[in-house]
Symmetry: C2
Subunit: 447 residues, 2 copies
């Protein structure tokens, strides 16, 4: 499946003279956005498209073709595949209009000719951040692409998937690659789970599903993947009307949520209860695993410290006193009006240096397993040099940063996230992320 | 208390030659950011400051002084107040360093001389969006001020309060005014609750507290205010270590959370469990009250519809079928491949017009009490004309909009919010806000 994600040559079937059409958008994205391989346009009615030679069919392309992307009306897809298979088994069918629209005959026909590495139909296909192989039919100005990183995304839904990508781009979260597999007639969530589990460049996997067809295969793939790296699953379509809506959406049977929960629990994957939490958790898994549930909170805003402590207490995290030696060190390096407690309120007049000294002491404290840093950016001594300072402590113990507020704060959050520091807009979300890291480490002794 | 929030003349005590100092920042904000009244600088060691005449003491100012703002070392505050009282009883003490720092004698001294309208000490004071009366000691570039609106904010914590203001500015939420009262030796949360309850320009009140001193007064003020307009309370410092942290922070005794919960319940105010939710709820209370719990979901992304439905089911909201006449109308105006269900998935190729037709039908449906609109902005037919379209439906039935995603989506969210349409970044938060509006209406028959 390596070639499917990193092709050296791509044929796009369904490029037309209209740049706004799906096939054209994919073709133009590929030739304009830095993809380094060969890209061929296929359209029997044109000799040239966008200044490039157009081919009548895939098999008339002289050179090798690693991946074929099809964006033509559903009825034309089976015969295009029959021809394209002369070149490759890696075929992505973007087109919808099969079983999900009631065309069961066309679905059967497609399944009969489908090669072993077919993605789709009715999907967004693949986005690979490193090679810039990209079949998303949204222009860059509508969907800015995220930077390269180690998070892989598997999404049954195209809309949910592309929304996650947009969010990643905005927050500065690095994405390894993305696949939306739609109806999944051949390759499905389990195949991609296995692929990403084996790929050493992938550090964690996000999975959005509404329903899976082969429960046994899914259960095995989940367990296999989770043994190798964190898997965060969002299962939508849980009960009643939501389940029915899922069936209308992807044609999948949403199944009993209790069964899914049991499968998730057995595989020890992290279940995100919402879209928002899926992303929150993705960020925290860049951190080392905590040895226990003892949290330290450092803050320059008393109220933020109190709110973080509330959430910690609610989740049964401990907020221990620092060791006598840490306390001594903190008393020495902090002003006398700072009370050395946990939460440690370094007070609103703190400059970045005071955070550095506090982190130095707290990170070494043997009573502490993980650290939450709250930042109010408004006081005069606080600025973006915080990023460098905090980066110096990454990797020692799990660390999450909270920067609540407006525009300036969003910018700082983005800078921190891009530096590999999981950053959140509210204290509760930072604490919840650390808690999830802790509880998943507890239940996953293999990690 | 009217003058305190809308003074025609202000004296700032503690302006110095250094523009970065607290007193100078307040003075410069007042003279540069559009405040229309008179502003006097007070400092016995200067004849002139920032090109303006400086006065040795408040009482030497010739004209009337409606409000005195004091930002000098704690020890100097009582004598400044003694002099200032010759001019006014409206005095805001920004300075900290009293009881909260262990200076109990100074606290007693201050209380003895305090006038009846004293705010603080140890606070940010007041921000009034309309008059631009503003004692926040953060420059505009560090804390952009939010636009004018009908939400009033009362915050025990300065840091939490200013963070809420920054967030409001970013999201485009209109703020009537803001008060951070710090140690609250004279005026406290209950006084401001009463004041805002009576002020006709205030539509809703956000209250952040860690602990109150006079429980009986608080309980009465809460009930009084909630009978007149929605009050949303965030109580921090609930249990154990979080309670201790609150005591260190504002010197207040956090008290038993169960007692607070009982008080909130009796007054029928909405309790926000987190910072994030406080803001989510503030937005939804611009909407009319629903007559029941029957929700319609309109979406152009199937997955978003499923997630919203999941949350609705979790919160026991109903997702009824539309009436036969609505169903007929929708079948007539939507393409044949749109299945008319609730959630109503108008499909990814929908342009803005399809939302308009769907909203027209659903808003008239007598089976429906409230409406959630999910928007994927990436498809070609979707653009910012959505704002005008949706605005046409405001006021009929409660409405919340969800626009998840990246940069473009944030901009659309802001535009919608500024048009008075409560807008959220995730389906769950939109549904939760509508649920809160519903459940608070149910328990508040007077509203």
């Amino acid at each position: 499946m390596k070639r499917l994600f990193n092709p050296s040559s791509i044929a796009v079937v369904g490029v037309s003279a209209n740049p706004a059409k799906v096939g054209s958008t994919i073709f133009l994205n590929l030739i304009n956005n830095g993809y380094g391989g060969k890209v061929y346009a296929v359209n029997p009615h044109h000799k040239e498209l966008f200044g490039k030679r157009a081919y009548a069919k895939v098999s008339s392309i002289e050179g090798a073709v690693d991946v074929v992307v099809i964006a033509t009306p559903a009825s034309t897809v089976p015969s295009i595949i029959r021809d394209a298979k002369k070149k490759t088994n890696n075929i992505i069918v973007i087109s919808g209009g099969f079983g999900e629209s009631g065309n069961k005959d066309l679905e059967k026909k497609l399944k009969r000719v489908a090669p072993k590495n077919m993605v789709g139909p009715n999907c967004l296909g693949i986005y690979s951040a490193k090679s810039k192989f990209d079949t998303l039919f949204f222009a860059e100005h509508k969907l800015p692409r995220p930077p390269y990183g180690d998070t892989a995304i598997i999404s049954q839904s195209g809309g949910v998937g592309s929304t996650i990508l947009g969010l990643a781009a905005k927050e500065g979260v690095g994405i390894h690659s993305f696949v939306s597999y739609g109806n999944g007639y051949v390759l499905d969530e389990s195949d991609f789970l296995m692929e990403y589990a084996r790929n050493k460049e992938v550090g964690k996997i996000l999975l959005y599903i509404e329903g899976v067809k082969d429960g046994r295969k899914f259960s095995k793939a989940l367990a296999y993947a989770q043994k190798r790296k964190p898997v965060i699953v969002l299962k939508a379509g849980k009960q009643g009307k939501a389940k029915q809506a899922a069936t209308t959406h992807t044609g999948a049977i949403a199944g009993s949520y209790l069964t899914y929960k049991a499968v998730f629990k057995k595989a020890r994957v992290v279940e995100a209860e919402s879209f928002e939490k899926m992303f929150d958790y993705a960020k925290i898994f860049s951190q080392p695993r905590p040895n226990g549930n003892r949290l330290a909170i450092i803050t320059n805003g008393g109220g933020l410290g109190v709110m973080a402590a509330d959430e910690a207490v609610k989740l049964s995290l401990e907020l221990p006193q620092f060791t006598p030696s840490t306390t001594r060190m903190l008393r020495k390096s902090l002003p006398s009006y700072v009370s050395v407690n946990n939460p440690l309120d370094v007070v609103a007049d703190a400059a970045v240096e005071r955070y550095k000294k506090s982190l130095q002491a707290v990170m070494e404290d043997r009573n502490i397993d993980m650290v939450l840093v709250n930042i109010l950016l408004q006081p005069p001594g606080m600025d973006t040099s915080l990023v460098e300072t905090i980066r110096g402590f990454v990797g020692k113990k799990p660390l999450a940063v909270v920067v609540p507020g407006g525009m300036l704060e969003s910018t700082l959050r983005r800078m921190l996230t891009q530096s590999g520091i999981p950053t959140y807009p509210y204290p509760e979300r930072g604490v919840d992320a650390l808690y999830t890291l802790y509880s998943s480490s507890k239940t996953s002794p293999t990690l």
